[in-house]
């Protein structure tokens, strides 16, 4: 029996998603057909709604359903500290940890000529505009600790060294609650290079 054309199309569309192979796509497609019709329609509708309403914040390029996202619009946040990330997802991760009270800027990638990503294709000019219009005190570079993330960090560092008083880079090394035995040698080497004087919170 031939698989109906619309089902083939559904499978092929699902297989385009990251982390989904042909087999998983097939399983998902069949599962969508076997469930209650309403479940599948709800999913379809939520995809449409999300795609139609969510756009990039015109200020930080994070995801938002308004022109300016909640974070950029929030007067309680410190607008003089900008945290630069590669990906809108990173904002959610950092927000979940409640460690940062400034605002964000999403580059939408990291410099990688091999993949055709140059500084011009990233939202770097936009960051420059933003800083020119309202000067900031600190730029926290939180690109990934990959070679490409590092290259991007260096690029930003050179670009803003005269216009931003403090430029910082998030630390690399051992994960909290981690076990030495599970760290790869590269991570350990970085952790040792970046070791710092031991401080206790309370001076006795």
């Amino acid at each position: 029996m031939n698989i109906p054309a619309s089902l083939v199309q559904l499978i092929d569309e699902l297989a385009k998603l990251p982390g989904i192979g042909k087999k998983t796509a097939k399983r998902l497609a069949f599962s969508l057909l076997l469930r209650q019709e309403q479940d599948a329609l709800d999913l379809a509708e939520s995809i449409v709604r999300a795609r139609k309403t969510i756009r990039n914040c015109i200020c930080c390029f994070g995801f938002s359903d308004l022109e300016i996202c909640d974070i950029c619009a929030d007067p309680r946040r410190d607008h003089e500290v900008i945290c630069v990330v590669e990906d809108p997802r990173n904002i959610f991760t950092i927000e979940n940890s409640h460690v940062f009270t400034g605002v964000y800027h999403v580059l939408q990638g990291a410099i990688s000529p091999l993949q055709g990503i140059t500084p011009d294709t990233l939202k770097i000019a936009e960051l420059q505009n933003r800083i020119e219009q309202s000067p900031i005190q600190e730029l926290v570079i939180s690109t990934n600790p990959t070679l490409e993330g590092e290259a991007t960090a260096h690029y930003l560092m050179d670009l803003f060294k005269d216009s931003v008083p403090v430029i910082t880079r998030i630390a690399r090394g051992m994960p909290a609650g981690g076990d030495l035995e599970f760290a790869d040698s590269n991570t350990l080497a970085r952790a040792f290079e970046g070791r710092s004087p031991f401080k206790t919170e309370i001076d006795v």
């Binding site: 000529p113 500084p119 070679l147 490409e148 290259a151 260096h154 690029y155 040698s185 590269n186 080497a189």
Partner: protein
Amino acid sequence: MVIHSLNLVDFRNYKNIDVEFNSGINFIYGLNGQGKTNLIESLYLITHLKSFRTSKIGDLNSFSKKGSTVQTGLSKQNVRHDIRITLHENQKKVLHNRKIVNYSSEYIKNFLSLLFSPDQLVAFKEFPLERRNFIDRILFLTDEKYFQKIKEFNRIKKQKNVVLRGGHRKDLFVWNKLLAAIIPDIVKVREEIVEKINTLLPDIFTALTGRKDCLQFSYGNDLKNKTEPLPESILAFLLTKVDKEIGNGHCLFGPHKDNYWMTLDGRKDRQTFSQGEYRIAYLSLQLAMNKVVTTVLGFKPILLLDDIFSELDEKVSEKTVSHIVERENQVFVTSTGIPEKFLDVGTGICVSNGSLSIM
């Protein structure tokens, strides 16, 4: 490290052989075209997971059949390892102690053999890349950090090449900066190993030849006479070469252009060594490397000496054998004639048309 037993099925000209080896010296002899080098090749495959004669796995299968297996029991630092390598068309599957090996790069860190073969000698003599690979293979084994640095260096170089080909001058700075930061670390490790080799090399050369001239291994750091070995100076230098590099479309300066060579009392190898001198010098280098890695790794690599007697004169051959006896490595030596005078220090294995007999 010692290879105790070997079983080859449909490998090159071997249909099905089982052989037990001496933990000292094994003399493999037989007429031309009987399979001596094939045996050496199978042992090299065990430690390197590739051949030194071909890049195609399919070539290792015997003519008639499609798949072949190499199975061996070896021991290293008192631990026994069972290894089974199955070659099918152009695929290989490796079982190490009955577990599937997913990454060759992880597997080959466990074992090591040093090879002297006429082909290898020519490649070493002709191509700087071969010489860099020879040193790097050892360094990858002994220095995990160096392995990571080279991986990173290659990635930066690849990214920079794309920028150079595109002629994007202003995007180049960051890649030059990253290169400048990593180059001194690579150069330092290379300098150190050459220094270590040079503490051993003259004595080994003298032991093999009875000659007093001083054999030295030299490292030609590409950036040496161009700049100081500091990130800032390297960056400044690279910035002066931007036009030239954009013109060529690839990285022109750095450790990927480094070279190594040998000298005898200051005479440079390629220009002034005789054929014989080069062979002995190369063999001395392998034997010096043997000592260096033994100290660092804590085990003795296997020495594979293919066709060594036809390459060296009688006196040097004798001295080589007695040097090897002292070092206590497991050694495999091939020759066309029966090495009668050496048989008391090792085992003779006669190869005849794909079958082996121990003498």
